[in-house]
Symmetry: D2
Subunit: 353 residues, 4 copies
Amino acid sequence: MSSSFGRLFVVTTFGESHGAGVGVVLDGMPPGIAVEEGAIQRELDRRRPGQSALTTQRQEGDRVEILSGIFEGVTLGTPIAMLVRNTDARSKDYDALRDVFRPGHADYSTFAKYGVRDHRGGGRSSGRETIGRVAAGALAKIALATVGVRIVGGTVQVKDAKAARRDWDEVEKNPVRCPDAEAAARMADVIQKARDDKDSVGGVVEVVASGVPAGWGDPTMSKLDALLGLAMLSIPATKGVEIGGGFDMAELHGSQTNDVYDGERFLTNFSGGIAGGISNGADVVVRVAVRPATSIGKTQTAAKQGGGTTTIEIQGRHDPCICPRVVPVAESMMALTLADVWLRQRALRGRER
Amino acid sequence: MSSSFGRLFVVTTFGESHGAGVGVVLDGMPPGIAVEEGAIQRELDRRRPGQSALTTQRQEGDRVEILSGIFEGVTLGTPIAMLVRNTDARSKDYDALRDVFRPGHADYSTFAKYGVRDHRGGGRSSGRETIGRVAAGALAKIALATVGVRIVGGTVQVKDAKAARRDWDEVEKNPVRCPDAEAAARMADVIQKARDDKDSVGGVVEVVASGVPAGWGDPTMSKLDALLGLAMLSIPATKGVEIGGGFDMAELHGSQTNDVYDGERFLTNFSGGIAGGISNGADVVVRVAVRPATSIGKTQTAAKQGGGTTTIEIQGRHDPCICPRVVPVAESMMALTLADVWLRQRALRGRER
Amino acid sequence: MSSSFGRLFVVTTFGESHGAGVGVVLDGMPPGIAVEEGAIQRELDRRRPGQSALTTQRQEGDRVEILSGIFEGVTLGTPIAMLVRNTDARSKDYDALRDVFRPGHADYSTFAKYGVRDHRGGGRSSGRETIGRVAAGALAKIALATVGVRIVGGTVQVKDAKAARRDWDEVEKNPVRCPDAEAAARMADVIQKARDDKDSVGGVVEVVASGVPAGWGDPTMSKLDALLGLAMLSIPATKGVEIGGGFDMAELHGSQTNDVYDGERFLTNFSGGIAGGISNGADVVVRVAVRPATSIGKTQTAAKQGGGTTTIEIQGRHDPCICPRVVPVAESMMALTLADVWLRQRALRGRER
Amino acid sequence: MSSSFGRLFVVTTFGESHGAGVGVVLDGMPPGIAVEEGAIQRELDRRRPGQSALTTQRQEGDRVEILSGIFEGVTLGTPIAMLVRNTDARSKDYDALRDVFRPGHADYSTFAKYGVRDHRGGGRSSGRETIGRVAAGALAKIALATVGVRIVGGTVQVKDAKAARRDWDEVEKNPVRCPDAEAAARMADVIQKARDDKDSVGGVVEVVASGVPAGWGDPTMSKLDALLGLAMLSIPATKGVEIGGGFDMAELHGSQTNDVYDGERFLTNFSGGIAGGISNGADVVVRVAVRPATSIGKTQTAAKQGGGTTTIEIQGRHDPCICPRVVPVAESMMALTLADVWLRQRALRGRER
């Protein structure tokens, strides 16, 4: 259950970063939806390592195989299992780390939890686990498109470089996946400098869903805000999430942040499309704080499994800034969240066929 | 299910703000734990309206009745149901709002969701729903105390007034519940001014859990960070949450934010006590962005249920800043989250009796 | 969670038999459904003790109070909490049993599980827990009636007296709740004789749902058969359940039990309205084996909490055959099960409003 | 969610009978348990077709591949995904059935549910789906063995041939998997005769768990009886389940069926090891009614997808009695159920490491 997300549109991921493969089972995809399989692969390619000089050079083809649930190009309504084999898993790179807890990583907490661990590259904590999320997210996007919902996302901040525009068509044109071409160039410089310094850098990713009708979500424990908080903070390396006006609203007054509806539309969107936990018809807007990647080449002090400390310089092949690769994952988690609340709303007030 | 929180330590709230009462069922409290019933009432008193000039003047005694699950002062391990009757529900105050959607409120989205609503004071979206959370949270705190976990919280920002210290013993000594006496005075001024202006103001609440052992939480979909995101963003009026370094880390480097363990303790806590979704033994630190209360006395434009707009001035009795009352709720949600992951860890690696 | 039933139409019961009261929270009732509150009380009255000479003489009014979720006679779509106070709880009757484990009862297993127990009358294991199920079941019946589903039930066997007919209108005309007037008289004799012997007797209850459309349920882990198995075997004192042809089919051939559809209807119903876990449009037929009540006046050997044995003669006021009172409970569990799969089917293929 | 079983020991199956493969994800296996992979294959071999003249001649190697969750022969505590490729899927055999609903099969109800279906061999309703259950069940057995629980099962009735003994060591020595060698021979004759008649025959399977300590299970909605009811009736072709004395108790008195504890052990086991929903330390005994296989060679009337009827003679390769192959599946479902309640009990009262 701890590897699952959703209640009706249920996603369960599996696989360690250096095992046989990683994958996902999506249980709850509605039947009768046409799926072009290339759409899934394209989303995975956005998440894949080795796309540009700004990301890790680990070379994984990340070819997805659909094992079930789709027949003659149409969803059956049964579980859709998808598998991606691991191919470039240089396990040897990790031999020196067998009894070392890397700073900032989950090595120590994982060992404390399980009493045993796969020391090779983070196991379940690896970013490779998100492959299953993106594959399932691609299907969630397809399902949501049938009811007019569209999801976009991009990197809107890297260190002090911030996007001033939201030109979503720009996102795939620059390696940072920034919706502002000018800011993208500055972001790339910041990232390149971090790489040169054997260091990493943090940032912020924004995801926006348009076309969400009013009425999705719940008023108390399962507020749409809350589900998005769950979704986004389940992404590796995220340490903050905000909806609409977010933390900025801490400094404002109600007379400024109460979104006024003029009879046709909301004049502002401090609520981020969600009022009292339920969508209000405006764009659903979420931002995620991404910490600097924890794998860095600089010399660091590290605790040892048996006690005591050592120093390490993490070699491997790592991302100096993971924001560009977080973008498709965050979009996927938004899609999985919305697909779930959509189906729940349908249960509540849908009409029988 | 949408009114429930947790998987093993399961809390389900019920009740509208102007119905017969509000309450909670807690299913999953371990058996054999001594409960002093006054401890529950004391937590409810912290949440109760009318505590100071800074909060709403609605006068509710909020006396809790325990209906089940505790026998001769000890938990039975069976569901603990608790009920608080509504007494000062001036439903008449809301007659004028029967067909008006108040700006920033959940009125419109609720109607879009259900097609029907209790227009009196927000129904389930009312802050009164959190009574059940606080009552259950009090029990979660008692349960967690048996394993050495302690939870504190306070208001750390109101508009531009920010707490510079974390003196948790100070919290109950000032009406803002700020852990910094000097900042508390400034915050009180800001809030009083907002009230005078018939306006409201936002802020930030911080909650800290100490004594959490390493190993609680999960590495993927149910990261402890994610569960806290779910918990905190399910609190009314919250629009952001961050763990440890949070959004500040977007501007930093990995060489700064990788928490180094020197063999005895972590030298920093950017991870907020959670690495890879699993507790690492350091304090669990969470901050929540609280939007300005949406009920304000200023004249506002409001949409009408049948179409068109009108203007309203919300009379009622409302909080100009809800941070002081969010504090016990946020502590409760932290407690509910930790109680749940504690029991799940016990399932994973506990020893049989 | 262990006190909850359902995934979308979620029922959570609470309360010990000799505590303040028993009740239920129903989360998932669709909004906008008119509820005549008397309908709930009438179902509770069917379950209530003291209805005839054949049932326990414990006198409980069992008056239900609706605490939330219904406003101006219509469901809000929010949790519906209902409470019944315990009034005739003669706790003193149980003082002698404080350290005795009654044979057949849950006393010993409960103590083994929790390490603590409320010795007064079974606590959660008491039949009083089913009050919440019946109250929620009444609402499930109302909800299902809006889509044409109707549920009936009756006692079809007591010892060797078996109903030969299914005249459901007869059920409320005899104290055994048997759909066959002639058999009812024989059953009453058997029960009376058991009472005279300070003994109890078992039986079989049958429940039938008509109007269930084809397509409800799931093909694998959540087969409708399986959910009904869960539902029925969660009723106190039940030790068997069968669907349609049930155990009789162990002695038959496929050429006999394959229900043939002649283009208009099924010629037989060995499947009990469920094929491959999914309803097929025929009546859903379930039978439940009810063990003889475990509380009997005869002298019995009983284990003691501290070790060793003693002899007891259970005084109290008990049912010599609980079938008549299981009928409304079994109907309720059928209704809760069907309401849940109905909403899940609506999530899968419903159309948006 | 509809393809999942369990709350803490969670099993999710996937795969259609004639797709790429079938498999399972087990999320919740405790870490640090040594797993001999051959043990999983051996259980699958028991379920595999083509084992004897009494089962279908479909030839599937059913070789399992473990994709994740086991590292260096030890469980990691992470999801264990297992995959079995379909190899002998003669889809062509089913071309004639594209628009025919086979009697007794799930064809019609599946189509009614989804509006689309994989007509080749039952899709999800096929017995092949149980491969995932058996693979996960093998792991559940290994986990339970670490706390002394052992599960056995066998065919105890085929038509009028009934086992008089429970010699569990006998089970794997005869093709019927009957714990009574003499009855096994008679059962084999009955099955062979059904095959010769192009017909099928039903039966009863019994499963027994020994070593279950008192205290597992729950008193209300999640009674251990109820969970076993869910488990067993989720197995294809089952239409009844009983615990301990089961339906026989309908004809008995309380003075006969109240299991007396003499200070050392229960003198009878009418409760089937479960009192009030909670294990009492005696053997947990469950019997399952298995309907005659629905695929038979005899000429049958069948409804057509577009309306009207036709006649069919199902060729394919089918089991005349599926009891022998249900045995490992029923054992697996017992194991999955017990593993789940074991972990839940550990959550409730386990001690921290």
